[in-house]
Symmetry: C2
Subunit: 422 residues, 2 copies
């Protein structure tokens, strides 16, 4: 890029940042009704503009040329998908408003009262890949939580996202909110992302949504704090007291309900006392369902279809019909294995022993710890959070599923009566 | 630094990071009693070792040579200050334990129960200047909240901090907690700080404590999220309905109780309707108490001692017996001024009008918003948080005074009865 072009881009990005900050200040003063009406209007605008959005999508598909089937499926829109995007916005509009909630309140001996009140974060930057629906979902979740959004979608979905963005902005304007509450970068040039990741004064947090490569690149380059999702190498540990029927049903669900989601179980741990009683039937269930099992020598002896696991298997997120399996000597060994090889995402214990469950939930250092249920509950909808912008595997600010209520901060409001400090 | 020395330092720092992470895993499994006993033992070790700590401090003072009086005051220890350090640890030990608290709990229609439980953050890096007491306070607050601490104190206090650290580590060991729960960098060389700020896998958050220069340097360089305190350009706005007697008392306190603290009022705003009724007496109170007043033309006309303010004054944190003062046309103009020139730290309104107070608290985008009280309440102790590690002016993770309870994250514990996802 020439110095002149770089200079122009710097200026465009600075202006975009200032518009985002100004819009976020207006959103702080907006009412729950305005935000609800705006998001419902976005849904209406998308329905009304379906033809134009489909035409834009056709342009993207033509420009992309020969995509793989998976990539094409992520990019393509049809009437049904456009309705699903609009319906998702209707749901976000109908969710309880997260702002203004008095999270805590107390009084001090000097009569001063304290309220901790939920407020927006400010400006949220979202960097994602080719799914155009993220444009609508992410924009609406930001507005729901009173934040301005700066979006950077994949270059493949440039026209589709642009058409959706235009509908979102008309929705904002119709409710009297600033159109600049949702903006996208002026160009798909990578240089713009570089500038965006350094805008520490005008963007408060960056959320990357996509594959590991994208998340690693954004994390390495960003000067702004990042809320991100790393691996989901999830474990289910069968403690010796586990109810066999429940364990068989839960593990089939945890591994095979959907294999490509981050909450899918990737590794099974069995107490040595549960090898004959539990592991044999559970592993055969999985093998019979077409799941490859890679296990240590003890478990391999249970069925000829079981393959040997090597050290790398314990740390692998397969996202496929493959599971690793290992024998451990009791709950402390299970906890140590999970904390060493896991990714601190979601890990489960199956047990009828309260002390074992208590030890596991206390000591496993994961965002989500599950007792006697499927790891596939790792999902904002299942938590009751409504739409989610992702699942955070970090511990700062947000951990676990991130819904509108987690895209917030707080302020303290102190009320006295001429109260002075001694 | 030679390549060989750099290589050695890299290895030392990597080992330190791994020890910190391992210690933090042990702290996750520690009990409230262990943490309480450890911090009380740290206090006892400091009292027992007072002579050695004073000798180390004498070494620091001798090495420092001709310090300024302020710098020397920050560095010097005596028997009384050592007792104050130990007493502060006793207070931290006696505070309620923040961990394990069930912050929220709910049940879903499928019978799955959810608990959001408070857990430690992990490893906290603290970078500070010459006050040796920060070594003890920061180390104890981290242990209280179940976190391992990596400390980097100023080079001037190297020996004093080292002697205090040795006492802290003996306290940890006596309670059966890992000594490496509190470590300091192996050298005061700046290169070690550079490495520390890039240890994204082994340090979860960096907290700089000190002057603006230190905080700016750390923020610019860190690859790890930073919880920091920027300026405290605090306002007190006198709305036309303010009670005069209360306003006079509050403003004297807000400006002059202590002028060097971040919660001191630096700028006064008066409604146009309050110039004759309030501003005249309030500004004379301040002038009579030896405070310099820099004001706009309208207020300057009230008293010949008042000097003219220029544009730079509205954005200045004096930390001195100086205040700026300006007339505004109503609460919306006051809010706009505070959001434009303020530092989003602590801002107050004095009013008997509930609607004005509501508008100010809703729209002023500051960590702490005060009604009818002194801005000098911006302090963790005054909030009832006990000892604080600082005041955050950021919105991510922690905002306002940061006590032990804010050095935490959460995990979700899901409990079912063989529950599978549909």
């Amino acid at each position: 890029m020439s110095a002149q072009l770089q200079d122009d881009l710097n200026k465009q990005m600075a202006a975009l940042g200032q518009r985002a900050r100004a819009a976020s200040q207006e959103l702080i003063a907006s009412t729950p009704d305005q935000r609800r009406v705006a998001i419902a209007a976005m849904a209406a605008e998308i329905r009304k503009d379906a033809d134009a959005i489909l035409a834009a999508n056709a342009k993207d598909l033509a420009a992309a040329g020969d995509l793989g089937a998976a990539m094409r499926d992520r990019l393509v829109l049809d009437a049904k998908r456009i309705e699903a995007i609009a319906a998702s916005l209707d749901e976000i509009a109908a969710m309880p408003d997260p702002l203004g909630e008095v999270m805590e309140s107390w009084e001090r001996p000097n009569g001063l009262t304290f309220q901790k009140v939920r407020v927006p974060l400010g400006v949220i930057g979202i960097i994602y890949e080719s799914r155009p629906n993220v444009t609508a979902d992410a924009g609406a979740l930001c507005v729901k939580s009173g934040n301005a959004a700066v979006l950077r979608g994949g270059s493949e979905s440039f026209h589709s996202s642009g058409a959706l963005l235009a509908a979102l902005r008309r929705g904002l304007a119709s409710a009297g909110l600033p159109e600049d509450a949702i903006q996208s970068l002026p160009t798909t040039d990578r240089a713009a992302v570089g500038i965006m990741l350094g805008m520490v004064d005008d963007i408060d947090v960056i959320i990357p949504r996509g594959g590991k490569g994208l998340i690693a690149r954004v994390s390495a380059e960003s000067r702004i704090p990042v809320i991100k999702h790393l691996d989901g190498n999830c474990h289910t540990y069968v403690q010796s007291s586990a109810d066999l029927a429940k364990a068989r049903a839960v593990i089939l669900n945890a591994k095979l309900r959907r294999t490509g989601v981050c909450g899918a179980t990737e590794s099974l741990l069995f107490d040595r006392a549960a090898v004959g009683s539990h592991a044999l039937l559970i592993l055969r269930d999985l093998l019979d369902a077409g799941c490859e099992v890679r296990a240590d020598a003890t478990l391999q002896a249970l069925d000829t279809r079981i393959r040997p696991a090597d050290e790398a298997d314990w740390g692998t997120e397969y996202l496929d019909k493959i599971v690793s399996a290992k024998v451990v000597d009791g709950v402390d060994a299970a906890i140590a294995h999970v904390n060493l090889y896991g990714s601190h995402h979601t890990d489960a214990i199956l047990t009828e022993d309260k002390a074992a469950a208590a030890a596991f939930t206390a000591k496993v250092d994961s965002a989500i710890v599950v007792v006697n249920a499927s790891t596939q509950f790792a999902d904002g909808g299942e938590f009751g959070f409504g739409a989610e912008i992702g699942i955070s595997t970090g511990k700062l600010h947000a951990r676990g599923p991130v819904g509108a209520q987690h895209l917030t901060s707080h302020k303290y409001v102190l009320t006295g009566d001429g109260t002075v400090r001694g």
